[in-house]
Amino acid sequence: MIDRDQVAHVAGLAKLQFSDSELTAFTKQMEDIMAMADQLDAVDVGETTPLYQVTDLKNVFREDKPERWQTREQLLKNVPEKEAGLIKVPSILDNGEGEA
């Protein structure tokens, strides 16, 4: 079973934050979803290997040739904040309160 603290921990890993009331609602829904997931406990998989992808393709290579894709202008076209041809972000540190 998943509890409220675990849901809050997972939210941190996923870089999401929830208000108290959202956390309560999400915990309930996550409990229901994990109860559904726990149905797999009933399956005896024996020596079955995990199937991560269904193609029989292995190590697909292509020629390593240089190619022009987008221009700098195109690459920056959708950047929400930019300055002098660079992406602008806030400081990593929080005015002395952040951890190094």
Binding site: I2, Q6, V7, V10, A11, L13, A14, K15, L16, Q17, F18, F26, Q29, M30, D32, I33, M34, M36, A37, D38, Q39, L40, A42, V43, V45, T48, T49, P50, L51, Y52, Q53, V54, T55, L57, V60, R62, W69, Q70, Q74, L75, K77, N78, V79, P80, E81, I87, V89, P90, S91, I92, L93, D94, N95, G98
Partner: protein, 490 residues
């Protein structure tokens, strides 16, 4: 001439274009007029590309439309998780607000190369996560048979646009049923090809081992024509299959005489409504009369498909959606304290609840201490599900089943109950887990709402699906019906 998509198909449009009874410019103007007239009812589109479409149509006319270009000058719509150079692409998410791609998806490029005209981007559940198109930042789409009902999802916009006669066909994507379920709910044809048959380059990723682009259309042949253009290996997608693309239209001929069909007992279980069962029984009779044999078979791990799928798809999604951080494109939260705050606030404000649930489920399933119990266990059960199919296909050409347990449900009916919503996908998910091609073909009405017959084939068995679907379509002619909410329109 005013184009009536309840009567036309791509071949009749193509003939009219080649014989100069119409032009691409005229056809596009008609199509845009249809869309604008019907959008009040369906809300199938997020973006209608009027100007872009008119330019493409003029270019198609200028280039000339010859008999060997079946899609030239034909207006088509794309699901809005398929990227389009210079045209807003949102995946129905707030987090992609204002995102204008700077290149085309491979399918977009191939349709443009075939001369088709892109008239717009259709609504979907945010990032294709959902079964009703209610999880869209742009609001729900409405079912053309009953405007109070969902069109299904996640390709609900593409399905409603085709069913309502706004376009002749549209592309969708299918990770757990997102083409077939809305096709069934809207009384049209929809095909999810074999995993890897169509390049995923430029499809906004959800579950990368499951995602596949496909087609929704009123007529089977139109999907065959479009799949012909978009299928095939692509050096930008290493999972695209190198196998040559057969002639799907030619494959439609011949009928189901002697075809060995399998009907899995698990697909007619207790969750399946009586109306759907009756419709499928009738479809089975039709196929038998056409000369097919039908055996009852078992796919014993079907009941585990839903949890298996939600663990795998959500795990892959939680990884794929890490890229949405407010730095390079789309929405960025304002009044932030530091860089970490940009990530957390952008994602918390930019994603809807269903997307957050999937990211949370996926992050949890992949996290230390839970990976073996959840993600890896699901991957093993996935193997058992694939083995079930392999056994049945050893001596059958196709598996037939209902596409959905019930016809379309009401808007708002299930949106607050994720697990009930997830169970709605139980009949479509297994094909994605196994990577096999599957389609939904209309199988009549139950209480005025369409029901879909699902056809599943072994990997690269699209030709067999088209053959059976064409024979069934020819025998039942469901396409002659105009959706209830669209009566009196053309």
């Amino acid at each position: 001439m005013s184009t009536n998509y309840f009567k036309e198909d791509i071949s009749t449009l193509h003939d009219a274009l080649v014989n100069k009874q119409t032009t691409a410019v005229q056809l596009t103007a008609d199509t845009l007029a249809q869309i604008h007239a019907k959008e009040d009812k369906t809300k199938a589109f997020i973006t209608v590309t009027d100007d872009e479409a008119k330019k493409q149509a003029a270019a198609a006319d200028a280039a000339g439309i010859s008999a060997d270009q079946p899609l030239a000058g034909v207006p088509l719509a794309l699901k809005d998780n398929i990227i389009t150079d210079g045209v807003l692409t949102t995946a129905a998410s707030k987090i992609l607000t204002g995102f204008i791609p700077v290149y085309d998806a491979t399918v977009t490029k191939r349709l443009k190369a075939a001369g088709s005209v892109l008239v717009g981007k259709t609504n979907l559940d945010e990032f294709a996560m959902g079964s009703s198109t209610e999880n869209s930042y742009y609001g729900p789409t409405h079912n053309a048979w009953d405007l109070d009902r969902v069109p299904g999802g996640s390709s609900g916009g593409s399905a409603a646009a085709v069913a309502a006669g706004e376009v002749v066909a549209a592309l969708g994507s299918d990770t757990g049923g997102s083409i077939r379920q809305p096709a069934a709910f809207n009384g049209i044809f929809g095909i999810k090809p074999t995993y890897g048959r169509v390049s995923r380059w430029g499809l906004i990723a959800f579950g990368s081992s499951l995602d596949q682009i496909g087609v929704l259309s009123r007529r089977v042949k139109d999907s065959a024509l479009i799949l012909q253009q978009i299928a095939g290996q692509d050096e930008n997608d290493d999972t695209s299959l190198p196998d040559p693309v057969p002639d799907y239209v030619a494959a439609m001929a011949g009928g189901v005489q002697g075809m060995r069909l399998a009907l899995p007992e698990e697909y007619l279980g207790e969750g399946v409504s009586q109306g759907v069962r009756d419709a499928i029984e009738k479809a089975v009779d039709t196929l038998k009369k056409l000369g097919a044999t039908v055996d009852t078979v078992s796919l014993p791990h079907t009941k585990y498909a839903v949890p298996t799928y939600y663990l795998i798809a959500s795990s892959e999604a939680s990884s794929n959606l890490q890229r949405f951080d407010g730095i390079r494109y789309g929405y960025r939260a304002q009044d932030v304290k530091n860089l970490e705050d940009v990530y957390v606030r952008t994602r918390s404000e930019g994603f809807g609840d269903e997307v957050k649930r999937r990211i949370m489920l996926g992050t949890f399933s992949l996290s230390a201490g839970f990976y073996d119990a959840y993600f890896n266990k699901a991957a093993k059960v996935r193997h058992l599900i694939q083995d079930d199919f392999t056994k049945v296909f050893a001596d059958h050409d196709l598996i037939i089943a209902p596409t959905t347990p019930t016809p379309a449900f009401k808007i708002g009916e299930k949106v607050d109950d994720p697990v009930t919503m997830y169970m709605n996908d139980i009949l479509t998910i297994p094909a994605n887990l196994a990577g096999i091609p599957a389609a939904s073909v209309p199988a009549g009405l139950v209480d005025g709402l369409p029901v879909g017959l699902q056809l599943m084939a072994k990997p690269l068995g699209e030709s067999t699906i088209f053959k059976a679907a064409a024979a069934f379509e020819d025998a039942t002619k469901f396409y002659e019906q105009v959706p209830t909410a669209m009566k009196g329109e053309n």
